[in-house]
Each structure stands twice: as structure tokens, then as C-alpha cells.
Symmetry: C2
DNA sequence: GTCTATAAAGAGATAGAC
DNA sequence: GTCTATCTCTTTATAGAC
């Protein structure tokens, strides 16, 4: 296998991560392909082509195409959860936590844009059992987000006339759609976007008593 | 063709719209199927089955599966643009316009959830030429949104340190992701969600001089 | 670990009868 | 407008050699 990179889909792969080890390279290339074409429309032949091998050779490394999707989803959500837990270990003031969580969410998901986008929108490609597993991982992550929001509500820092659940949905709305338009070479970095969204959300749902004039 | 409805996918079709005319019923059922399974994974045989006809009979009504996707996208964006233009004809104060636009966007897109979601996430299934066409329609709509935001910035009602483009992206982030989790039988109506998101966004990006204490 | 060859199933779409 | 029958192509995955 040549160490030179083919053109096309693979250009969108973030250069810093796991480029050497063949198993991880497979996942990275699969994520880029799945995001570009969609999981169902992406073929194992295309994937093999990007890796410079024949379709049949792929099956020495994986058991099925679905295994790749599943692994991408689990990896992506594991990274998200770990990053969120680091935030909770470092920040303790509710609004600091929420700001840091927004930033971490945006930076981590966009640093991993191919697999994160695939995880978010291609769940339908998984078997019912695996889909349920991934949805559970996602619920675990979202529960962390919701608990930080509820904490800020308890401290009277965020409005409490809307449930923590719906504030969490609004928060993730604001952050998640970014995967559809963010470009690494765009005008704003993921850090800047994370800060901006944190700012908009916190100002947007601050408790009335907390609003600055 | 029986007038009784089969079970399954079709349950998610909004009951009020265009249920009689066979051409529109086809589009409605296709939208529900495409949203549930994804465009690429949905088969024409499944679609025919939902309509109570054979696969081959489908081709009396359409020329190709892709035609359906294309038509859904165009219809969905046409509805969005018309609704936005009605808002502009009725509201003139910048923040009233923005509020009404948020509400209209949410209500219209969720009233049409299957085809709107399909339009937003299944563009990859279109040929390059048609994809470009739909992207152009979407850009037209988004330009309306951006112009209303820019108008509010010019009136010093929204912060101007962030470009209208990025405020528009944040605004649509907040609104669009709702298609992934909204349920017609959920706790909040689309009207309530539209108002909530308008509130969050406008409070979140209000100009400093406009913030209430 | 990769190859050639191919199996087995399913896809979109068409032909032509009724 | 719908049917049965079928064409043609592509898909995921496997067998077995090297």
C-alpha cells in the first residue's frame, strides 16, 4: 500500500489523526466516504478503491460494511463523552461549565467532522440492536449536557420557565447543525464558533435577573 | 386503489394535506418513506407497496426515483419561500420580521416534516445539475433570512460585531435541527417552538444597547 | 494481506398484455 | 392505470489461490 494519498474524498480527512495504522486509516477513509456519499450510497468498492485495494481485500479487515458504521458511531460518541467529562472535571461554576461544554462540543465534533456527521445522520443504516446501542450512547452524552443546564437553572442563572430538556434541545440544535456547513478553511475556527454559540445561547436563555443592560 | 391506508410509514404523514389526488399522494408517501429509510435505502418496490400497487405501475406516474426526490425538494423550498414572502409583506419592524420569520420557518418546515427533512439531508441523491438547482433555491431563501437579520443590525437592534452571514447560520442552526427530533404529538407545538427559538435568538444576539435588565 | 473469480440477492427501469 | 414478467446492472460478501 502506497503511503501517498489518493485525491478526492480523502482530502477532507483531518490530517493529524491516526494516519499510519491501517485499521484506523480504514475508519477515517470510510467516515469521509460515508459523509460525502451517504452510508447507503457508498459502496465497498469505492472504499476499497480509496484504500488502494480490491473490494474482497477489505473483508480481511472488516466483517461487514455495517461494522464500519457502527464503529464510527461508537468512536465518535466516546470522544464526545470523554471531552465532556474533562470539562466537568475542570470547571465548576455552572455557566463556565456550559460555555466550556459548548466549546468542547463544537471543537470535538468538527475536529472529527466526517465520523461525527455520519453518526448523527446515518443511524438508519444500523441494525435495530446496534442502532439502539448508539442511541443509548447519545442519550448518555445528552444527559450530561442537560444536567449542566439544569444546574445553571437551579442557580437561577438560566430561565426556568422552559424545561431543562427543551433548553438542551435548543442548545444542541444550535451546535449540531454546524456539521452541515462548517469548513476547516472557513472564516471562523471551530473554537470561535463554539464561543459564539455559547454566547448566543447563554445570553438567549439567561434568567431575567442576570441580564446585563 | 383502496381508500384505506396501509400501516407503517404512512402513519407519519400529516393528515390534512393533499390526501386525495393520486399525484400528490405519491409525493407525500415518498417523502415519508425517504425520511424513514433514507433516499438511497428506500426502494421503489417499498414505495409501490405503500401505495398498494406494483413496482412497475409506479413508472406510469414518474420517470425515475430521482424525479420524486427532486420534486419534493422544489416543493418544500417553494413553500418556504412563499411563507417568508408573506411574512415580509405583513411585518415591517425588523425584530417583528425576524420573530415572524422564525415562527414561519419552524411551523412550515415541521408542518411538512417529511419532505423538508428529505430536502435538507438527501441532496446527495440528486444529479449534479438538479442538486445545483435546489441549492440555488435554498440560497434564495437563506438570502431572505440574512437580509432581515442585516436589516435588524442596521437598525442597531442586533449586535454588529458578527457578520449577518454568521448570524444567519446560527439562526438556521437553531431552527433546522428541530426536524430530527420534533414529533407532532410532543410536548410543544411547532408554534411554541418557533416562538421559543425566536426569543432565544433575539435575546442571544441583541445589541448591547437593547438588552433589558 | 491481497488477489481473481463469482455467488446470491436486490436494485431501477422497461415491454407489452389487459 | 395496473398487471406479470423480465432485463440489466450493481450490490455485499465469500471461496480459494498466492
Amino acid at each position: 500500500m502506497s503511503s501517498e494519498r489518493p485525491v478526492g474524498v480523502e482530502q477532507s480527512i483531518s490530517a493529524d489523526r491516526r494516519a499510519q495504522d491501517p485499521g484506523s486509516r480504514l475508519l477515517t477513509v470510510a467516515a469521509a466516504l460515508f459523509r460525502q456519499k451517504g452510508y447507503a450510497a457508498a459502496t465497498t468498492r469505492e472504499l476499497a478503491g480509496l484504500l488502494g485495494i480490491q473490494n474482497a481485500s477489505l473483508y480481511h479487515h472488516i466483517r461487514s460494511k455495517e461494522d464500519l458504521l457502527y464503529q464510527l458511531c461508537v468512536d465518535s460518541l466516546t470522544r464526545m463523552r470523554m471531552t465532556a467529562e474533562e470539562v466537568l472535571a475542570q470547571e465548576f461554576e455552572p455557566l463556565d461549565r456550559l460555555r466550556a461544554l459548548a466549546r468542547a462540543h463544537v471543537v470535538t465534533s468538527l475536529g472529527d467532522q466526517d465520523s461525527h456527521a455520519t453518526m448523527l445522520i446515518e443511524l438508519r443504516g444500523l441494525s435495530a440492536a446496534r442502532r439502539a446501542e448508539v442511541i443509548e450512547l447519545r442519550a448518555t452524552y445528552e444527559a450530561i449536557v442537560e444536567s449542566v443546564i439544569a444546574e445553571a437553572q437551579s442557580a437561577a442563572l438560566l430561565r426556568s420557565d422552559i424545561s431543562a430538556k427543551h433548553l438542551r434541545l435548543a442548545f444542541l440544535n444550535l451546535l449540531n447543525w454546524t456539521i452541515f456547513w462548517f469548513r476547516q478553511d472557513g472564516e471562523l475556527t471551530s473554537e470561535q464558533l463554539g464561543d459564539l454559540f455559547a454566547d448566543i445561547f447563554i445570553s438567549g436563555v439567561a434568567a431575567a435577573s442576570e441580564r446585563r443592560s
